[in-house]
């Protein structure tokens, strides 16, 4: 009986201490997250803002796919691009919001590498069927190469990409889009 009581007390003491410890650790977690948000450079903001506009154009291109008689393999590719880039836009926007940076409105992106000109966009919108498939691949490869170039520019800037989210997102965009470029080049070659 005594033994049971003593044991219960020890358990109570331990759990009380554990609770206060995790509460302390949680406070540290939030404090660190807050201070980590203060460490960024104009180059990081430029990259994160620019990539939103860049991704939005990829979504505009992908949105043409169901309307323009694309093949099923292009439909799958576009579905993947939409899924990936929508999620990345959410990450980019969250990063900017948490740092009190303005979100880009609309499509402020004409000057970024790989962007389609209005004429190219119109050409793509007007294409149909197999011609659309080919043009979509060519322009998406151009667009992806531009995103990779933006990552390289970011990484070549003093002080940039020290932030964990920026480094990870930029690295992921780089490897994902290089991988997708290779896939699209194969698709282009295998088109009958």
């Amino acid at each position: 009986m005594h033994r049971v009581a003593a044991l219960a007390m020890v358990v109570a003491a331990c759990s009380a201490r554990a609770a206060s410890n995790t509460a302390d650790l949680e406070a540290i977690y939030h404090a660190r997250a807050d201070s980590a948000r203060m460490r960024f450079t104009p180059a990081d903001v430029r990259f994160m803002t620019g990539m939103i506009g860049h991704h939005r154009q990829a979504l505009d291109m992908a949105a043409l796919v169901p309307r323009n008689g694309a093949s099923s393999s292009i439909e799958t590719l576009a579905a993947r691009i939409i899924n990936a880039q929508q999620d990345e836009i959410a990450t980019l926007e969250q990063w900017l919001r948490e740092r009190d940076q303005p979100l880009p409105a609309g499509h402020e992106h004409a000057h970024m590498p790989g962007m389609l000109t209005p004429a190219q966009m119109a050409e793509l919108a007007a294409a149909r069927g197999a011609a659309f498939d080919r043009l979509f691949l060519r322009y998406m490869i151009q667009h992806h190469r531009g995103a990779v170039a933006m990552v390289h520019e970011l990484f070549g800037t003093d002080g940039a990409a020290q932030d964990e989210v920026v480094f990870k997102l930029a690295s992921d965009i780089q490897v994902d889009q290089i991988t997708e470029i290779a896939r699209m080049e194969l698709m282009l070659e295998e088109m009958p």
Binding site: A18, N21, H30, S71, A160, L169, S171, D172, R183, E190
Partner: protein, 641 residues
């Protein structure tokens, strides 16, 4: 390439404070049955250290928050040696003593920032990967601000951990792309050195920072850092002399789209289409059905050319012939010379016991021959239009199967929502036949997760359950999933653990980076919450005897990317496990199973010659029944012991 033999040992931060008391050790609460209507992983309460939990067929042995120095900083991969677990963190390495798995204690919190701090151990050495821009040669926490700096470390750090509480930083091997991950190859024929295969996925450093680094295409610069991996040789007597000894271009001439071929359903669909008279061409080594919308205009124009309005069978036949010509012309048009394959691997799993490695390399899964450790050779390659990014590999114990993961979204994105396809961000399972990989099926975490939980296939390891291929795997905030892929066509989940999101209002990174079986328990590195340890509990899918047999396999150390081959000592638990499996698969009648168990128990009670005779009689009685082969072998081994 550059070694810095005389680095000052870094200041070490030992957070000894009450680490054991922080561990919350869960009691042996029964695992709730998994209801068919609602998965318990759906709708879990959010929280950092107090999230709701869904558990099935597992027991949570302990949950230990990170040391203060690492709170809020990403925990990464794990390695093991003796009673110690080494947990990487973007701020350094945490060493835990897990000799009592219900109360892991801090041995040392070693601050030395680098992402991702992928960690391995071998004897007295610890290897740590650095890829991010903030890693410093002096382990300082200030980062490196300049785009070109003599203070930056991107590559492999080497520590001497002879005194585990006082790691000595003895060398660096800098690489052009840094080290995202690495794999330690302990080659059976080489006792004087180990080899490290380095995979780096970040952009190439400028030559001004590390001389010789070039990001040009290999056709423009034969010394390009792209399209290769690095092999570092570490002389065990002089680890400070570790250096790159080769940069194998294992992607060379990866020219064709080595598609893994069609899934059984696709093959069926193709044959149905063929029987229905569909137009089929071979492109990139694979047969494809040409869609109607492509065929119809061609048929119409053939009909028009002869003045008719409707195409006939003759037009179809003519089109079939001309399609062959069109395809041949396209192939001829492609021109000479190899096209570039992947520029690097994400991770390589070495399986030295069978001389093979699985390389997960951008758009490809590779099978490598590693019998010559310095010169790995590609022997097969597969690709898959459902795979975004080939991330890691695990062999089954026999080396007859390989499983690749697809880290779609890079691990920071929520790819397990109900709307995300089951084939994307999943595992792909292949059988290995004559060193060729054949696709069999996908496995993805079966429970949907919220948009605020990063979730995709990630790191795991095989469990030493004898006679079956069972694996535990981390899915970030999707939790951990234990699944059986003995039947390569039908992988099935048999246990899981999951928490609610770190934050239900926004995406906060968390979840299981990796979970590995090590000496009887499953240890998980939780990105935000620290270290979790689990135990299997018996269920309809797995018996106590199978768990007991798994626990007889003891490893001295484990780096999951240098996969060990499990060998089961001869025990009665092993024999009983095989009997359980014969019962589960209905291989023998119930009465025979019951008598086998009785005779086995009797043999266990006996000793010496009597036991030997009983076991031999049992084995002889089973004779040549194919399904009982493993049991017979186990009985004969037991008789010898």
């Amino acid at each position: 390439m550059l070694a810095y033999p005389r680095l000052v040992p870094v200041v070490l931060l030992a957070a000894a404070a009450c680490s054991s008391s922080q561990t919350s050790s869960a009691g042996s609460s029964p695992s709730p049955a998994r209801s068919s209507s609602g998965d318990p992983r759906v709708g879990l309460k959010p929280g950092l250290f107090d999230a709701g939990e869904g558990v099935w067929n597992l027991r949570v042995v302990s949950k230990t928050p990170p040391p203060e120095a690492f709170v809020g900083v990403t925990n990464s991969d794990l390695a093991f040696k003796g009673q110690y677990a080494f947990q990487g963190n973007y701020n350094g390495i945490q060493v835990w003593d897990i000799s009592n798995p219900s109360r892991p204690t801090t041995v040392i919190t070693h601050v030395c920032p680098a992402s991702q701090s992928d960690v391995s151990v071998y004897r007295n050495l610890m290897f740590v990967s650095g890829e991010g821009f903030g890693g410093r040669l002096d382990c300082g926490t200030g980062g490196v601000q300049e785009a070109v700096s003599p203070h930056r470390l991107r590559g492999i750090r080497i520590f001497d951990i002879t005194d585990i509480r006082n790691p000595q930083y003895i060398a660096n091997v800098q690489t052009c792309r840094g080290s995202h991950t690495h794999s330690v190859l302990v080659h059976p024929g080489d006792t004087s050195s180990v080899y490290i295969y380095v995979s780096g996925s970040a952009p190439v450093r400028p030559a001004e920072e590390l001389s010789g680094c070039s990001a040009l295409a290999p056709s423009e610069d034969p010394n390009s850092a792209l399209f290769r991996i690095e092999v570092i040789k570490v002389p065990l007597a002089h680890p400070e002399q570790a250096a790159i000894v080769s940069s194998p271009r294992i992607f060379q001439d990866l020219v064709e789209a080595p598609s893994h071929g069609l899934a059984p359903e696709d093959r069926k669909a193709l044959e149905t289409a063929r029987a229905g008279g569909a137009f089929i061409v071979e492109l990139g080594g694979q047969e494809r059905v040409l869609p109607d919308r492509m065929i119809r205009p061609m048929l119409d124009s053939l009909a028009r050319a002869r003045g008719a309005t409707t195409p006939t069978a003759a037009d179809s036949a003519a089109l079939r012939d001309s399609l062959k010509v069109m395809v041949a012309r396209r192939i001829a048009d492609r021109g000479p010379g190899p096209r570039p394959g992947p520029t690097q691997c994400h991770d390589i799993t070495l399986y030295p016991a069978i001389g093979l490695a699985g390389g997960a390399c951008e758009g490809y899964g590779l099978l490598l021959d590693i019998s010559d450790p310095v010169n790995p050779r590609r022997i097969d390659a597969v690709s898959d239009s459902n795979f975004a990014y080939w991330h890691s590999a695990t062999f089954n114990n026999d080396g007859t199967k390989i499983l690749f993961t697809d880290e779609w979204g890079g691990g920071g994105q929520p790819k397990c929502r109900p709307s995300d396809p089951r084939e994307w961000g999943a595992n792909a399972i292949f059988t290995i036949e004559n060193r060729d990989m054949r696709f069999r099926s996908y496995y993805k975490l079966p429970a949907p997760q919220t948009p605020n939980e990063n979730c995709v296939a990630h790191n795991g390891s095989l469990l030493p359950i004898p006679g079956r291929d069972i694996m535990v795997q981390g899915w970030y905030q999707g939790g951990i999933s234990v699944f059986d892929w003995t039947n390569a066509d039908r992988p099935v989940e048999i246990a899981f653990f999951d928490r609610g999101p770190v934050d239900s209002t926004r995406m906060r990174s968390g979840g299981s980076w990796s979970v590995y079986w090590y000496n009887g328990v499953m240890v998980s590195s939780e990105i935000a919450r620290g270290l979790d340890i689990f135990e299997l509990v018996p269920s309809a899918h797995i018996s106590q005897n199978e768990i007991d047999a798994a626990k007889t396999v003891r490893l001295e150390y484990l780096n999951a990317q240098g996969q060990p081959q499990f060998v089961w000592p001869a025990t009665f638990a092993l024999a009983r496990a095989y009997v359980d499996q014969l019962e589960r698969s209905n291989a023998l009648p119930a009465a025979r199973i019951a008598s086998l168990r009785q005779e086995l128990a009797a043999a266990e009670r006996a000793s010496g010659d009597q036991r030997r005779t009983a076991l031999t009689t049992l084995a002889d009685g089973l004779g040549s029944q194919a399904q009982a082969r493993r049991l017979v072998d186990a009985l004969r081994e037991l008789a010898k012991s």
